[in-house]
């Protein structure tokens, strides 16, 4: 966004890509790649921290994308992921289809769920939208915990073993971790690319001023529907990682708790930052695994961290980056102006048009 604008003055094709944001992303990806090599007990760290961070982050990223670029806070993202997980269980275990078609079909089903949700909820705004997506997610939860012929009710579908896809064998936990990392990075690239595309600019314009975009001839609701469907697709990618991480699927995947966990991950990481969700996911996975060692009330701890972040760092933990940079940087002025555009806060109500200047 603003960073690419600043650097577009430079000539040279590769220099265009060397922005602070991209350097951070590259560092994070490198850290993700070497993660299995540096941890002491890979059999614990890879599934419990690594893979869990990746699927929570991917699903939370779809929530952040909607919040940041469309201005809608969807609480149904975990449900789309769960629907995709259920799809994989149903197609591959119940119906006995081969695994690759099952995955592809399930991604389609998850996206379709997003499309249907969009049809119901797209006319509503802000807090209404949030409540309706929350309610719809609970509809699916209650259906999933009762529809014995499709979802096997509370017992869920199990086992769903990690498959050998032919070219890679996901049975190996390290291979599976890299597979998950690849999907997470792919999701990130999809969102970054979309945000910069013509479609992305249009939805951001719609977010800033639906009336103006409508007057310009854009079909506002159609754009919102498309964005929601795309976000549901990426959430479904998270669902693919999730189902092979757990090796089963049951209603707890789409329960209120799971939905809220994804929201906590998004907010703690930074609800205005696509990549920040992985920090949120990491913090959450660490809390889940290690807080139990010294307290039974780790959900209380999670809640306190959540409220603390909301009260003091509304941009999430990634918001700390620019703060630290400002403290240490000599070019305080430039980084401060950059920080303000890099760290949007939780969406404010309509009326305060932000001045990102995306629509020319």
């Amino acid at each position: 966004m603003s960073s690419s604008k600043q650097t577009s003055a430079h000539s040279g094709t590769w220099k265009r890509w060397v922005t602070t944001q991209n350097v951070v992303v590259a560092v994070v990806i490198v850290l993700g790649v070497i993660f299995p090599l540096v941890v002491d007990r890979p059999r614990f760290w890879l599934p419990n921290i690594g893979v869990r961070t990746l699927w929570m982050g991917t699903i939370a990223m779809s929530l952040v994308f909607l919040n940041k670029y469309v201005g809608l806070l969807s609480l149904a993202q975990m449900t789309f992921a769960g629907i995709c997980s259920y799809g994989i269980g149903y197609f591959s275990v119940t119906m006995g289809l081969p695994i690759i078609p099952s995955i592809i079909l399930s991604l389609g089903v998850g996206s379709l769920a997003g499309y249907i949700t969009a049809l119901i909820a797209v006319r509503t705004k802000a807090i209404y939208f949030m409540m309706i997506t929350l309610a719809l997610s609970q509809v699916f939860y209650s259906w999933a915990s009762q529809a014995i012929e499709v979802t096997n009710a509370r017992r869920g579908i199990a086992p769903i073993p990690r498959p050998n896809l032919g070219f890679i064998d996901l049975n190996d936990i390290t291979t599976f971790y890299y597979f998950a990392l690849f999907l997470a990075v792919l999701s990130y690239v999809i969102f970054r690319y979309t945000a910069k595309s013509q479609f992305g600019l249009a939805i951001q314009g719609i977010k800033d001023s639906p009336e103006r975009m409508s007057a310009l001839g854009y079909n506002v609701n159609r754009y919102r529907t498309a964005a929601l469907t795309l976000a549901a697709f990426v959430a479904s990618i998270g669902g693919v990682i999730l189902v092979f991480d757990r090796n089963q699927v049951d209603p707890s995947f789409v329960s209120l708790d799971s939905t809220l966990n994804i929201l906590v991950v998004a907010v703690v990481g930074g609800i205005g930052s696509l990549g920040g969700v992985f920090i949120g996911g990491l913090v959450f996975a660490l809390l889940q695994n290690f807080a139990q060692d010294f307290t039974d009330r780790y959900m209380t701890l999670t809640g306190l961290v959540f409220i603390g972040v909301l009260l003091f760092f509304p941009a999430g933990l990634v918001g700390l980056g620019p703060i630290i940079r400002r403290l240490f940087s000599k070019r305080a002025k430039t980084s401060a102006s950059k920080a303000s555009s890099d760290t949007p806060t939780v969406e404010r109500r309509a009326g305060t048009h932000n001045k990102k200047g995306q629509h020319k």
Partner: protein, 286 residues
């Protein structure tokens, strides 16, 4: 045997509980344009404290008052300490109250455990009343139905007829302008938030009298309140009444017609209303 009148009456009494809970939510939303996702927490907190108070004193009325006051204080605390500064930022308020809900769920599980508890009520209410066309019907359910009706009328009259009510209505329409006329809107907000939470707490006690109190009910009652408020129209007390009766009756009929999918049918009601009237039955267009 004709069971439909019985189901209708069951739906009405269930709707009474939903109404008491959701009237608080719709009051808070109507005035402050924020949604508190800790509403279910107030509900369960009030229910548990009402249970403790009623068990200790042996007096059901004391239990009702205790639940009401406890949840009201919790609401006041939440409002004053956590969300007062961010009142204009509805998303942030929703998220902060969500954090409160997460903590509340966990702490109540720690204190009150996972077993079901039921609020004790007086012997003289534990009788069946002969109703023509239905047969025996528990008196306590009718008492609770009456409480909800009286409460609904009282809230409606306070808002429609008193000075405080007119301030509230003015605040709903235009808070800055109301503030400019010399009304201390902050105090009004705090009072409404406390009253809304207190109503949820009261709902918790009366629900705990009819049905067992369980962990997880904070989430389900938050959802039912949200559905009622969405169906009825946000910010409207008559809307909350209509919404609660609809949700209560539909869910009871659905239990008989299609027990497996009762919950889904209840939500389908919401989807239908939204498709036809996005602002809810009594809601004003945004």
């Amino acid at each position: 045997m004709d069971i439909w009148p019985l189901i209708l009456l069951n739906g009405l009494t269930l709707g009474a509980v939903y109404f008491v809970a959701s009237s608080g939510l719709t009051l808070i939303f109507g005035l402050m344009r924020v949604i508190t996702l800790a509403h279910g927490t107030s509900f369960l907190f009030g229910g548990y404290l009402g249970y403790v108070a009623a068990s200790v004193t042996g007096n059901w009325i004391v239990g009702l008052v205790a639940g009401l006051v406890a949840a009201g204080l919790l609401g006041l605390f939440t409002h004053q300490v956590l969300i007062r500064r961010f009142q204009d930022d509805d998303m942030r308020v929703a998220l902060i109250t969500l954090g409160v809900a997460v903590i509340g769920t966990d702490l109540m599980l720690a204190v009150f455990g996972g077993t079901a508890t039921q609020v004790p009520f007086p012997q003289e209410f534990q009788v069946a009343l002969q109703i023509p066309g239905i047969g025996d019907y528990p008196l306590i359910r009718l008492i609770i139905l009456a409480i909800a009706v009286v409460l609904g009328l009282a809230i409606y009259l306070v808002i429609a007829r008193t000075r405080f009510g007119s301030i509230v209505r003015a605040g709903v329409d235009d808070a800055p302008m109301t503030s400019a006329t010399g009304v201390n809107v902050r105090v009004v907000f705090a009072v409404i938030f406390a009253v809304g939470s207190a109503l949820a707490g009261l709902a918790g006690v009366i629900s705990g009298t009819l049905f067992p109190l369980l962990p997880g009910q904070d989430g389900s009652y938050l959802l039912f309140s949200l559905v009622v408020v969405i169906v009825g129209g946000m910010g409207s007390i008559p809307g909350a009444a209509i919404g609660s009766v609809l949700v209560g009756v539909v869910s009871q009929f659905a239990l008989v017609v299609a027990p497996t999918y009762a919950f889904v049918l209840t939500f389908a009601l919401m989807v239908i209303v939204l498709a036809v009237r996005p602002q809810g039955i009594m809601g004003r267009p945004a």
